[in-house]
Structure formats: C-alpha cells, structure tokens
C-alpha cells in the first residue's frame, strides 16, 4: 500500500468517533485550543519571551513594579507589567508555565509507568502478589498528595545539604507527585486486567504458549490503556496544581526560578498594596491551564467509556 492511498492521519482522526465528539463540543474545542496555545508558548518560551528571567544580568531593579501595559504608568515593553525585582511578568509566566507543565507531564508519565506495571502484574497473577501490591496502593491512597510531597521534602532535606536540595528540588516534586498519583492508575489497570485476562484472546495466547510478559505487553496492555489515558489527563491537572501548591508553600522550586507556584507566592505579598497584577496573571494562567486539561480529560472519558456511547 502506498502512502497516497491511505487517508492521512489528520483526516482519519477528524472522521473518527472521537473527532466527531470533539467537533460537536465547542467547550472542548476551546479547551483544546487554549491548551495547545499555552503549552506551545511555554515550550517555545526561550524564543517567544521578550526577556530571559534566568539571566540575572538583564534584570533591572529600576523597572520594578511597572503595571501592565494598558494601565496608566504601564510600559509597552512589559506587556503584563513587572514584578518586585523588575522581571517582565509575561516572560516569567511563559517560563513558569514551562516548569509547571514539565513537572506535571514527567510526574504523570512516571506514575503511569509504575501504575500500569504494578496494575498489570497484580491483576494478571492475582494471589499473594496482588494482595501485597494492592495493600501498598491502599496505604498510599490514604495519604493526601500534598502530605506525601511534604513528607518526601522533609526527608530529603534531612539528609541532603542545602545546595544539593535546591538542585534536587524539581526531582523531589516530580517524585512526590508521581507517588501520589500512581495508586489510582494501578487500581484501574488491575481492574481492567482482571476482566481482560479471562477473555478468549488471552486464553488463545496462553494456549499457543506465549510467555506472561508477552501476553501482558502485547495483548492485555493495549486493551486497558483507555481508562489510563483518562486518569493520566485528569491527573496532569492535579500534578500541575500540586507543584504550584508546594512552590507556593516555599517547598518547591527555589526562589529566582519561576514556576507558576512561586510566582503566585511572590504576588501574594503584594495583594494588599495594589500591585495585584503580580498575583492575578500567574493565577489566571494556572486556572486556565488546569481547567483546559480537565475539560479535555472529561471529553476523553466520554469518548472512551463504552457505557456512555
């Protein structure tokens, strides 16, 4: 088959059931657009942002506390105004979004890897393995995500030097968020695996003598990925919020390196003094980002859930 004979990927996606559901929901389209725009801008931050917030030499305190460009006293060079150090708020938000999305995506990816692996093993083999894994999941689920993160942060602080800890801050947040998300994935995958493993195609694979690993990876995995996709999307929002919360509490990303949480924390100090743009725009960015992710997650659930078809 030559490539021309095959309808291209975009058209296939457009004509699919999912594509149809997507087109029919203006809210989902809007959410998708916003998300693509925000993530795109964040990823391209080094090229789009007018200033580099990591370049300390370019930050001039003389520019501190300039309001957004359209307010009186604003400067067109600083679209959303500047913070108390004279950093351009638009640039720091772009870089901050990048950090937040990066932390969110990596921690969800880690959680999915761990959750899928343990869920498949628990569901397929059952018995003692299942009991052990599921009890660990149960214990993990009783701790709220923020508490797990605070615990890890405290433990790492106790055995690392300060310098090591500030270098490791992002890793600590990622691990904390991943740890709090993986149990949900594991549970869902285990449930689906238990259903799938008694299906004929699995029995057939067993009969022809394929190994357990191959059966899990080649046969069962593709059939349990639907719900995982939904959970992963919704938890991307949770992870981004988690990072923001930790940074807001001063436990996450070190000062001087923007993430949406640190920006909101700094802005919070100016909530009474009238320089509200330092709080409003990073806050709005975070809210829009998480809302869009959640709306897309809902759409994905509607598409993939056979009961809703």
């Amino acid at each position: 088959m030559t490539p021309e004979q095959r309808p291209n990927l975009f058209l296939r996606a457009y004509d699919s059931d999912a594509g149809y559901k997507f087109r029919r929901s203006p809210l989902t389209v809007l959410a998708g657009l916003i998300l693509v725009l925000m993530i795109g801008a964040a990823m391209l931050a080094p090229w789009i942002a007018p200033f580099d917030p990591f370049d300390k030499a370019s930050i001039d305190l003389f520019n501190a506390l300039i309001p957004p460009a359209w307010q009186s006293g604003g400067d067109p060079a600083f679209l959303l105004g500047t913070d108390d150090q004279g950093r351009d708020l638009f640039s720091t938000i772009l870089y901050g979004t990048r950090t937040s999305v990066f932390v969110g995506a990596i921690s969800v990816a880690l959680a999915v890897c761990a959750g899928v692996t343990f869920g498949l093993i628990a569901g397929y083999f059952g018995g003692l393995v299942d009991a052990v894994i599921m009890r660990i999941v149960d214990i993990q689920m009783t701790f709220p995500a923020i508490m797990v993160a605070l615990l890890i942060d405290g433990v790492t602080r106790s055995f690392m030097t300060r310098d090591q800890h500030s270098e490791m801050a992002i890793v600590v947040i990622i691990i904390a968020m991943a740890l709090s998300i993986w149990p949900q994935v594991a549970r869902t995958v285990r449930a689906s695996t238990m259903v799938e493993k008694s299906r004929e195609y699995v029995l057939a694979a067993q009969v022809i003598g394929r190994g357990s690993g191959a059966i899990l990876a080649r046969h069962i995995l593709p059939n349990v990925m639907g719900p995982v996709l939904v959970i992963a999307t919704i938890n991307l929002g949770v992870a981004i919020l988690g990072e923001a919360t930790l940074s807001f509490l001063g436990l996450g990303i070190p000062a001087g390196e923007p993430s949406l949480g640190t920006l909101i924390r700094i802005g919070n100090d100016f909530i009474f003094s009238g320089e509200r743009w330092m709080l409003i725009y990073p806050g709005l960015t975070l809210a829009l980002l998480v809302l869009s992710v959640n709306l897309l997650g809902d759409w994905l659930r509607d598409v993939l859930d056979p009961k809703l078809r």
Binding site: K56, L61, L65, D163, F272
Partner: protein, 541 residues
C-alpha cells in the same frame, strides 16, 4: 416594628459565637519568626532577646527612648575607676517564688561567660564579681571601663537554685543538646511563659508578684504570641482583627493599613544597620569552585560595594522608608558621623577593579539570605544578586527561613560567600560594633582566624563571621574601651571607622524603618532598636 422571634434567636446565637477571648486584656501579637529559644544566653538576636526581656530582666533596662533605667539594680556607684558597686532591689522574686539575691547575679555572671554563651562580651573574663551582702554586688575590672553596664539591658539574670535543680548547665547552641531552659523560664519579669510550642504559639500571663506593678501603664493580663512568616497573612489577620499587634509590616502594605478604619501604623527609623558580610577568612570561597578566595582582595570587595545600587533598592523595594548607610552604626549611636560617605555606585569602576584583581570574567559564590528576619529581606537579596550579575559576579542567592539561615551562617558552619545581616549595638555605642564585628576572631595573635579548636573562646570578634582582621583595629578597640576622656575616645572611634571603611571590612546597606501594625485603640511604645516592651501596651477596656 415587627417582632421576629426566630431572627432574634439567630442573632443571639451569632453573638454568643463571637469570640470574647479577645476582649481587652489579651494581647495577640505576631511577628515573622519565633524566638529561637527561651534560654537567654544562647543566641544574641534582637527578636529573641527582646521577647525574653518581657520574661527575664537585667540589672538595667532601656526606656522607650533607649536611655538607661535601673531594673534589678536600684542604683550603682563607682568606688574607683575599676570598682563598681550595684545595689540590688530587695522586693524581687523569680516566677517560682524564690527571692532574688546577689548570688543569682554571681551565677548569671558565671553562666553568661561559660560554654557557648553568645553574650560573653557583656562581661570581660577577668572581671571579678563579688557579693558584698545579699543585695549588693561589686564588679572589679582590670581596666577602667566607663560603659561597663551599657550592654546589660539584655544580660538577663537567671536563678541559681532553679538552674541547678533543673540541671540546665551552660548555654549550648547545638539544638541536639537542649536543656530545660530551652523551653522553660524562671525570670523576674512582668510576664511568665504559660505554654510554649516552638514555631507555633507561645502564651504568657502577667506575673502577679512582679516588683514593678504600677510603675507602668500596662493593663494586659495575657499575651498570645504566634509567628506568622507570610507578610500578607499578617496584614490580613490585623485587618480582620484576629491580631492586635503585628511586626514587621512590609513597606508595600503600610498605605493599606493606614487607610484601614480599624488599624494604624507606628513607624520610625531603626538603629539596626543592615549589612552584607563577605567571607574573607576561608581559603576557598563557598560556592565558587575556585582554589583561592577572591574576597580576601580589598579591590574585589570594593567592586562588590560599587556594583550595588543602593538608591534604587531604597526607592523601589523599600519605597523610601530607609536611610542608606555608609557606616556600620546608625545615627543615634555614639561614634556615628555623617562625614563618612558610601563608595559611589559605579558599574564601570567595579568592572575595572575586578579586572585589576584578575577576575575580569567574574566568579560565583553562595549568597545566604533570610526571608523572615528583616524588612523585605528576600527582595533585597535577590536584587543584590541581580545587580552583581551585571559586573559578572554570580551571587547564588540561597533564601531560607530564620532557623536554617542562622544555622548556615553562624559559627561553627559559616557556610557563605556573602550573607545579609543586621546589627543593633546593644550599648548604643560604637565600641561594641567594633568589638564584636571588627576585631579578629581568634584566640590570640598566633592562632588562625576561626580555628575550630578555639571557637568556644572567641569573644572579641564573636559576630565577625566574615573574618575581617586588621591588628590596627584590635589595638584601637582595646584603647577605646579604657579611654575615659570622651573627646579622645570619639577621635579613636572615628579613626577606627576610617580604617574599616577604607578596608571595606563590611558592606553597610541601610537602616530600614520599622513599621508596626497596630489595631485601633491599642497603645504601645515602639523602640528604635525594635524591642517590643509589653509593659507599655495599653489595650482598650
């Protein structure tokens, strides 16, 4: 008028739920960080010793205008230039009921000079303390010292019996060796500690047996102290009347509180000088990766000085509520002179100096900063770090809360290339600033600076964590101490300040203005040294 039983019931219930605990006599007070310990000799830090000044008392105290007042000593006289006699008050009891006697002063004089006491400079090691009778104590010094008692306002007197019964031992900085005195107190002051949860809440009640009752307008019976690190939270709590007094108020919030109908601001210049200390004694500079320590070079220190645009920090971060400083002591401290000028802000000259010293491409170091100790400290730190980047110096700001910050920069760790601190001379005289901050921190002339084995004995230069050392200053400081002629003494002080300024021993930044947020109808006295004396608080009845 229609009568609605249901709604009046609701109203009554609602009123019953209004917390009346706050009525009149409880002072609810919040500051940025907590008092580090209840042991008055462990750490010399303005907030901690100011807090403890309401629980413990010294032989003397400072009035709201910072003049010296008698406290546990009724009066004192000079029998000879080296022989002081203090007459103690007779009606004083400690919080556990034990009467206060000369023996407690002897004990306090021993303990304040022992172990890892941070107040060793209050009393020279060779000063003899003798009890003449139960209520008379003599201090016999080897050299005349006209300002012997100037620093005693926060040398608090502890009770020997209580200390020995609870086996509190000597002061120790290591948190692992907490003593009974870390969490408990037995002072003579107007307030006693009721409950103490470090970092969370401390409650105190007025001590019924306090000797000074009636001498001050104080009408509070309880104090509830809560550390609130976040500036906006403190302001919100004040505006919603959950707190009566909050300190400090960030400069950006002053206008908002002044505009509020239920709260106000009391503000004024502090005698605390904010400064940057530069590590001049370590052979390698923390965080630099270099083999040598560039900050040993005077030119490099001047380059850093010249790279800092103090006027912009003053205008943008402190919004005009500060006084840029050229000296390590503030106006109002004896020995201050406005003839000293700051090195001009000059980026080009700074780069030249760095090039001359061989650091044209700059270098990096660890810059330790606090975020809950001083007015807008985090913002000032980041601004300084950004300014240094413009001359190629990468000052890696490490911003931490007070406890972790102090642990990093004080002896024995002293893990910094540069750090931001404030200094309030306890005697309000230049001598103590020269003595604690500028004298060589070493056991004797032949030992190394901050030699680990000698650290317990270092008294002169005990706060000189940057390790500035110039024997000429040591000589001058010793001369100043014993010089009794005021003009000659002030000339010596001026000479010393000229040398330290020329050496760029430190980098003085400014004196900030202290701003206290106070709920309407609450009256209090603010002091330029930021000590909050609860005896002057009058709450509405």
């Amino acid at each position: 008028m229609t009568h609605k039983p249901l709604s009046s019931l609701c109203l009554v219930t609602a009123l019953a739920l209004v917390p009346f605990a706050s009525s009149a006599q409880t002072l609810r007070f919040a500051a940025q960080g907590d008092a580090v310990t209840m042991d008055p000799y462990v750490v010399e830090e303005v907030f901690t010793s100011g807090f403890l000044g309401n629980v413990y008392e010294g032989l003397i105290r400072r009035a709201p205008d910072l003049s010296i007042q008698p406290a546990l000593a009724e009066s004192w006289e000079l029998l000879s230039p080296t022989h002081w006699r203090f007459h103690l008050r007779k009606d004083v009891t400690f919080h556990d009921g034990t009467p206060f006697t000369a023996d407690d002063v002897i004990y306090s004089a021993e303990r304040v000079r022992a172990g890892a006491s941070d107040f060793k400079n209050r009393l020279a090691a060779d000063t003899e303390v003798v009890a003449v009778d139960d209520h008379t104590v003599d201090f016999i010094t080897t050299e005349p010292n006209p300002i012997l008692h100037y620093t005693w306002a926060n040398w608090y007197i502890m009770n020997r019996d209580w200390a020995e019964a609870n086996n509190i031992g000597n002061a120790d900085k290591a948190a692992a060796e907490e003593s009974y005195a870390t969490l408990h107190e037995n002072g003579t002051g107007p307030f006693r500690v009721e409950t103490r949860e470090p970092g969370v809440k401390t409650t105190l009640t007025a001590y019924d047996g306090w000797w000074g009752k009636g001498s001050v307008p104080m009408n509070i019976s309880d104090v509830e102290y809560t550390p609130v690190p976040n500036a906006a939270t403190r302001v919100a709590a004040l505006l919603s009347e959950q707190l009566d007094v909050v300190f400090p108020i960030s400069v950006q919030d002053i206008a908002r509180i002044e505009a509020a109908p239920n709260a106000g601001i009391k503000a004024g210049p502090e005698v605390r000088t904010m400064y940057l200390t530069m590590n001049q004694w370590r052979d390698t500079l923390p965080g630099s990766g270099l083999e040598e320590n560039p900050l040993k070079d005077r030119r490099v220190r001047e380059a850093i000085y010249r790279a800092i645009d103090i006027e912009t920090i003053h205008a943008r971060i402190l919004r005009g509520r500060a006084t840029p400083a050229a000296l390590m002591v503030a106006p109002g401290v004896n020995g201050y002179s406005d003839t000293f000028k700051r090195y001009d802000y000059d980026v080009e000259r700074s780069k030249e100096l760095l090039a001359e010293a061989g650091y044209a491409d700059g270098f990096s170091f660890t810059f330790q900063c606090s975020n809950n100790m001083y007015v807008n400290d985090e913002a000032i730190c980041l601004a300084v770090s950004n300014m240094l980047a413009k001359v190629g110096i990468d000052a890696q700001a490490n911003v931490q809360a007070k406890a972790q910050y102090l642990e990093a920069i004080l002896a024995p760790n002293m893990d910094f290339g540069m750090a931001m601190l404030g200094t309030t001379p306890a005697s309000l005289d230049s001598h103590i600033a020269l003595y604690s901050l500028h004298m060589c921190p070493r056991a004797d002339e032949n030992s190394a600076i901050w030699a680990p084995e000698d650290q317990g004995q270092i008294i002169a230069g005990k706060s000189n964590f940057g390790g500035y050392c110039n024997p000429e200053i040591d000589r001058l400081a010793n001369e100043i101490l014993i010089e009794t002629d005021e003009d000659k003494r002030n000339a010596l002080i001026n000479e010393a300040w000229t040398i330290t300024t020329e050496d760029v021993a430190y980098l003085p930044l400014h004196q900030t203005w202290a701003a206290w947020g106070i709920r309407d109808k609450v009256d209090l006295q603010i002091r330029a040294d930021n000590v909050f004396d609860w005896r002057y608080v009058v709450m509405p009845e």
